[in-house]
């Protein structure tokens, strides 16, 4: 068994913590774990990528092209940046939030929101695109967006880690005073996915 999660986002959105939470939960579940995070300059609003790999025997900390089972996208354009790595039948859980970088306002590049969204929807057959930052705000703070997304991740069919393992990992990883907020955000992420499922029925 080998399972690969890729997390893409913008520096400062909490993707490093998310990667650690998933990795820790995988270790509880008895798997070998390897991760790689973007820490350093890119944390100041640059593109960041985390690789989380777990399974029976894991070598490289980086996922090979086309081997990502689940893409966890923290931002619309950054999610699309990670698509090259996704398996043809891979899944994606994506926060539809748009963060326009200063380069766009400086006239150096462009952000074609509609085109990017259409591409994402057309390319990923198993896509869960939703406004996670909105849910995080309802939970108490936009900074818990990462935890909302992990809640949603736990509800993905065949995802090898269950919500108890993930919640336990969250509680161990986040600062004590943020526990309540994050637990709420996690449950709201789960509830959002359940509502989606029921809605589809």
């Amino acid at each position: 068994m080998e399972y690969n999660v890729m997390i893409t986002g913008v520096g400062g959105q909490g993707s490093v913590l998310a990667s650690r939470i998933v990795a820790n939960a995988a270790m509880f579940a008895g798997y070998e774990v390897r991760t790689s995070d973007t820490i350093g300059m890119a944390q100041r609003g640059g593109s960041v990528i985390s690789h989380v790999r777990f399974g029976d025997c894991i070598a490289s900390p980086l996922i090979a092209n086309g081997n990502v089972d689940i893409l966890l996208g923290f931002e619309l354009a950054e999610a699309v940046r990670g698509l090259k790595m996704l398996k043809p039948d891979g899944m994606a859980v994506v926060n539809e939030q748009v963060i326009v970088p200063p380069s766009v306002y400086a006239g150096i590049s462009e952000y074609h929101e509609a085109e990017i969204k259409d591409f994402l929807e057309a390319t990923v057959p198993h896509l869960h695109l939703f406004n996670a930052v909105q849910i995080a705000r309802q939970a108490g703070h936009w900074k818990s967006t990462n935890i909302v997304l992990i809640g949603a991740l736990s509800q993905i069919e065949d995802f090898p880690l269950n919500s108890d393992q993930l919640l336990e990992s969250i509680i161990q990883t986040v600062p004590a005073k943020m526990k309540e907020l994050n637990e709420r955000a996690f449950r709201m992420g789960i509830r959002h996915m359940e509502e989606l499922k029921n809605g589809h029925k």
Binding site: D37, P101, F119, T123
Partner: protein
């Protein structure tokens, strides 16, 4: 056995604690910083000394002093920091140490957060010191722990050289016991002529150091960090992390090659290499950065009369630049074997925005740069930069910095520019931690040699870029004790600077006036822009755009590039990341950006 999820840097720290480290010194630098931060956190619990030193040279010398007594020491830094520490290092290799001394120097192939891609393994070879190249966080811990004993056996400092993907990657790591600090032997410095280098002693010690090379090689011959994994007659050699990429690549390509894993790239163990040469009929060497293993293997093959073809960087199959991954390594192997290279995955993405790192919302550096940009209007001034968060002043739309070279070079290069163009304005920007690191000699040089420039010290009470470490300007040290912080203005004055102004950049109009005065001053002017990094201290304030006043000119966004400002449905807005610095209110010609009255964030 207990397992814990550890980042490579944490694993190295754990290895040092398991080895009973007694003194740890460091200067922060990505990707190495968390080795020391972790060690600082546990210093009280396991009773060892830990200090953020003012620079890497200082860190190495402090540790060397401690090691002369017999105490076990660790020094951590990033690859370019080793250049700063090179002076003590090159001679310490001759003198040697008594207590185990491990230098953890992190390399940054890519590079992700560095000025260059220099290879610490090559530096170790230059210094004639042994180096470990870990392939995983587990191995990083095991090697670190082992390195202390090795250092004592050889009486030499020993390197461990992790790369970014080891430093900043997590893995399940097996923990071992930590020795009881109370059972440590007492150490004392014993007087002996061997501790004072003189030309005659230097010659003798150089001979000794040369002999130690063979002793190291012999020890490395017997270590399982170096090993052969037998397969067919195709031979692949991998040093450090490349070993993991090679494993995944061979697996994906279904090639049962024989793999020689190298964990000690210098000195190269000769026994496993010879055994490997006898098993295979051609060799590909995969290592990031310089051909350190490759050159030694070619030498060995030639000297020992092995007739075997060796590929790698020297014949262009393996690049010297950038970092590797499984896909790149697969291509290298295919090129080597002359088989077709795999097709690129075919999906082509729509155009995506360029997303470079930028100063945080509300970063006081933005205000400092903007004040000087306004002051320099029409002056064609040159702004020299340095290393820190403020290096991000290079990016659009601020584009405030014209140069960046290395730690401390902002001040000194401005002085050089001033020598050739004395009529032009030169403004040098330097952070507080960098000022203490290597800025002070530059300042002294400016005064003494009459540089007519402006120096701006961006004092934000922390070493922000590398993770908010304290520095000598603060009243608190690495382990949280109260200490005497050194006053930057007092240093500036003591150096004889006549123009000195201290101003809060968030008080923008005043900051701009000070900037104008400093640039107009005939002689060396120093301005200290004093405001804490927004990530360590902020007020509970927020601003918003009054839609009825905003004419959507977007001047605020275009001039400042604050990430909290954005346009939605054709209207400029402020999002919840705003920290209330108020800088945008100074640039808005309509007065449309105003403080929000709220009940706390």
């Amino acid at each position: 056995m207990q397992k814990q999820l550890l980042m490579g840097n944490e694993a190295i720290a754990r290895g040092a604690v398991e080895a009973g480290v007694e003194v740890v010194t460091a200067y922060p630098g990505t990707p190495s910083s968390e080795i020391f931060s972790t060690l600082a956190k546990f210093a009280k619990q396991y009773n060892y000394q830990a200090e953020w030193s003012s620079n890497e040279k200082v860190a190495l010398e402090v540790a060397a002093g401690a090691a002369y007594t017999g105490a076990r020491c660790m020094v951590t830094m990033k690859q370019v920091g080793l250049n700063v520490a090179a002076d003590p290092l090159m001679t310490l290799a001759y003198i040697g140490v008594k207590g185990g001394m491990v230098l953890a120097v992190a390399d940054d192939p890519g590079p992700h957060s560095s000025q260059n891609e220099q290879d610490t393994r090559a530096f170790a070879k230059f210094a004639k010191l042994p180096v470990f190249d870990p392939s995983s966080p587990q191995e990083a811990k095991d090697m670190t722990k082992y390195a202390f004993g090795l250092s004592e056996e050889l009486e030499l400092p020993v390197f461990i050289r992790p790369t970014t993907r080891i430093c900043h990657g997590c893995a399940d790591v097996t923990l071992e016991t930590i020795p009881d600090p109370d059972k440590r032997p007492k150490h004392t410095f014993e007087k002996d002529p061997k501790w004072a280098i003189m030309p005659k002693l230097s010659y003798e010690k150089h001979k000794w150091l040369s002999l130690q090379q063979e002793k190291m090689r012999e020890i490395f011959n017997g270590l399982s960090f170096n090993r052969i994994e037998s397969g067919n007659e195709i031979g692949i050699v991998a040093s450090g992390l490349s070993y993991q990429y090679v494993k995944d690549a061979l697996n994906a390509l279904e090639i049962p090659a024989t793999v020689l894993k190298i964990g000690t790239p210098y000195p190269l163990p000769d026994r496993p290499v010879k055994e490997f040469f006898n098993k295979v009929n051609k060799v590909l060497i995969i290592e990031e950065q310089d051909p350190v293993v490759e050159e030694q293997m070619i030498q060995l093959a030639f000297a020992q009369g092995f007739r075997i073809s060796i590929s790698g960087k020297l014949d262009g199959i393996v690049p010297r630049e950038g970092e590797f991954n499984v896909d790149k390594v697969m291509k290298m192997i295919q090129r080597f074997l002359g088989t077709a290279e795999g097709e690129e995955t075919s999906i082509s993405l729509p155009p995506l925005p360029v997303r470079q790192p930028a100063l945080c919302a509300g970063c006081p550096h933005r205000a400092s740069f903007f004040a000087f940009k306004e002051a320099a209007k029409g002056l064609d001034a040159v702004f020299t930069g340095d290393i820190g968060c403020y290096t991000l002043g290079v990016t659009a739309p601020l584009q405030a910095l014209d140069t960046c070279l290395c730690m401390g070079a902002g001040i000194t290069m401005a002085a050089g520019l001033n020598k050739v163009e004395p009529k032009r304005s030169q403004v040098a920007f330097i952070g507080d931690s960098t000022f203490f690191h290597t800025g002070i000699p530059g300042l002294i040089n400016c005064v003494y040699n009459k540089a007519n420039i402006t120096i701006v010290v961006l004092d934000n009470d922390t070493t922000a870029m590398t993770g908010y470490q304290p520095h000598p300007g603060l009243n608190v040290n690495a382990v949280g004790e109260q200490t005497i912080g050194i006053s930057i203005p007092a240093i500036v004055k003591a150096c004889g600077v006549e123009f000195l102004e201290i101003v809060d950049p968030n008080d923008f109009e005043k900051a701009k006036k000070v900037a104008c005065a400093a640039m107009a001053y005939d002689g060396l002017a120093v301005v200290i822009m004093k405001a804490p990094c927004i990530k360590i201290k902020r007020e509970k304030k927020m601003f918003s755009v009054k839609a009825d006043l905003c004419t959507n000119c977007q001047i605020c966004i275009k001039k400042l590039g604050c990430p909290s400002l954005f346009v939605s449905n054709g209207k400029v807005q402020v999002d919840e990341t705003c920290t209330g610095c108020g800088l945008c209110t100074y640039v808005c010609p309509q007065n449309a950006i105003q403080e929000v009255v709220q009940d706390g964030i």
